[in-house]
């Protein structure tokens, strides 16, 4: 069902379509997942701290982790406010990019001509580092939110498009036959067959695109450093050689990334749970 150029994303499909029942989360295994990386991270920070202190590394090369954490909390208001701006750009790009890509995918899934017309362009966009377009977007869209959101939207466009096309087409041919056998309309086939079949694929692409949209937002903010966001903070403080502030801003970005990814995983878990568990017996 999926045409050849899409094969490279096959590794996503198993994850997306694996209809393994996911029960309500149990806390103990979650601790088993969360604790080891936390301990590893802590050990790493301790190691860096010791290295910086013992080797007397310059503050302009590597700040002490304790200084970074201290600054993160003293200037928390700044990182939080700027973080919200970055989050806004990221979510705006995510919403616009996902909506636009899903709409086009719905068209492509129904039309081979549209597929032949659109996919080569989509692949061209994919192999082009879209952040290279930021200067152009600034010329076209001004210096406000618009160019940043546009970059975040464009950077997620391709993965969402490819996954959505695969999802809309991953339809059991016998199910499709049943719909045809009662003369269901194209809209009915889309609404009741293709769209629900694509939901797991959309979640798979969302997992990739939350982090991608954050990358797009930050890179755009580096360019537009007069207009806020954590990217701008990083750019300005790097010029001021305040590396502890650079690291603190990166820490905030990491927290935003973790929050977004976790939200998607939880939403998917909720969805999968609804998919595979019985609705409360009547």
């Amino acid at each position: 069902m999926v045409s050849e150029p899409l094969r490279e994303l096959d590794h996503l499909d198993a994850e997306a379509t694996g209809r393994i029942p996911l029960g309500p989360p149990d806390v103990r295994p979650m601790l088993a997942w969360v604790l080891p990386p936390l301990i590893a991270l802590l050990l790493l920070a301790v190691a860096v701290e010791i290295w910086v202190r013992v080797a007397e590394v310059s503050i302009w090369v590597m700040p002490r982790p304790t200084t970074v954490v201290e600054n993160f909390f003293t200037d928390f208001g700044l990182y939080f406010t700027e973080g919200l701006k970055t989050l806004g750009v990221s979510l705006g790009g995510l919403a616009i990019g996902t909506a636009a890509a899903t709409l086009l995918a719905a068209g492509v899934a129904h039309s081979n001509i549209l597929e032949r017309a659109v996919l080569p362009i989509a692949i061209m966009v994919k192999v082009t580092p879209v952040v290279a377009l930021i200067p152009l977007f600034i010329i076209w869209l001004g210096h406000g939110w618009n160019p940043k959101i546009a970059i975040a939207a464009l950077i997620i466009y391709f993965p969402v498009l490819i996954n959505a096309i695969a999802g809309f087409r991953d339809v059991d041919p016998r199910m499709h036959d049943f719909f045809r056998s009662v003369d269901a309309s194209t809209w009915e086939i889309f609404r009741h067959l293709r769209l629900p079949a694509a939901i797991p694929y959309l979640f798979a692409s969302l997992k990739i695109s939350v982090t991608l949209s954050l990358i797009g937002a930050v890179v755009a903010e580096l360019f537009l450093s007069g207009h806020g966001g954590l990217g701008a903070v990083i750019w300005i403080e790097q010029n001021n050689l305040r590396l502890e502030k650079v690291f603190a801003a990166v820490l905030m970005l990491t927290l935003i990334g973790v929050t977004l990814s976790t939200a998607v995983v939880l939403a998917e878990r909720l969805f999968s749970w609804r998919l595979d568990q019985p609705v409360a017996a009547a």
Partner: protein
């Protein structure tokens, strides 16, 4: 249901036409339960799909109640069941059964009580379950109920029990006869069924008439009436009459068939 010189020819990759179903003329009466048996690849599924309007005929004509298969689809006169249940994983049993009523709603004339139908297939306790939580046999019952929900005058069954274990399979061949006999509107003509299978006992157990197909090109080589009275019970399979009938069908299957002949310019 009438086929007149209906045939199906594929274009192979090498560019040679391959005759999947050679011109077939056939009439199936209302209320008749017909089984179509033959080895794999003999074109029996293709023939069924031609009747169901899922593949267009390459020549000749198919009529279902005086209409083309496409019109029969439009008027919801066809109840399809496939080898795989092909249920919607995200819908409950109940909502799967309802699907045919929900689609193409302006042609929904039957006032089927979905709960009653689920009760008839014995799944009342499971009507809010998802397909993945049911056994293969239960899923296939849901598929049968879904096909019957639109109260179709013609049931098209494409090896519906081939993927089931032998024990379930032997139960289902009586289950399908019971369901075939249930019609919502008593003023309707009795329901017909075409049942594709590669199991001779299954065909003889369910059918009023067994059509035997041979491959390459797919064609009907025997038309055997099965006159055992209804309702039939599993014990029927131990009777001399049943053994006799299966022997006749098996003999027809073994009869020399014409070898594969390329379809030339002829």
């Amino acid at each position: 249901m009438r086929l007149r010189e209906a045939r199906l020819t594929y274009q192979t990759k090498a560019g040679n036409p391959l005759e999947a179903v050679s011109p077939t003329t056939l009439t199936i009466r209302a209320g008749e339960f017909t089984a179509l048996v033959g080895p794999s690849g003999c074109g029996k599924t293709s023939l069924l799909r031609m009747i169901g309007g899922l593949i267009p005929v390459s020549g000749g004509e198919v009529q279902v109640f005086g209409e083309s298969p496409k019109e029969a689809q439009r008027h919801k006169r066809l109840g399809l069941v496939f080898q795989e249940p092909a249920l919607l994983a995200w819908r409950s049993v109940e909502d799967n059964v309802r699907l045919g009523l929900q689609l193409n709603p302006k042609e929904t004339h039957s006032s089927t009580d979905v709960h009653e139908l689920i009760d008839i297939v014995g799944l009342t306790a499971f009507r809010r379950y998802r397909p993945a939580e049911l056994s293969g046999g239960m899923q296939q019952r849901v598929a049968l109920a879904r096909a019957l929900a639109i109260d179709p005058p013609l049931l098209l069954l494409d090896e519906p029990f081939a993927a089931l274990d032998e024990i379930t399979r032997e139960q289902m061949r009586y289950e399908v006869q019971r369901l075939w006999g249930i019609s919502h509107d008593p003023t309707d003509p009795p329901r017909s069924a075409i049942f594709v299978t590669h199991s001779v006992p299954e065909a003889v157990a369910v059918a009023d008439r067994v059509l035997v197909m041979s491959p390459r090109p797919g064609r009907i080589i025997a038309d055997i009436p099965i006159t055992a009275p209804r309702p039939r019970r599993p014990e029927h399979e131990h009777s001399d009459r049943f053994v006799n009938d299966t022997a006749i069908v098996r003999a027809a299957l073994r009869s020399p068939t014409t070898p594969a002949v390329p379809l030339d310019a002829a």
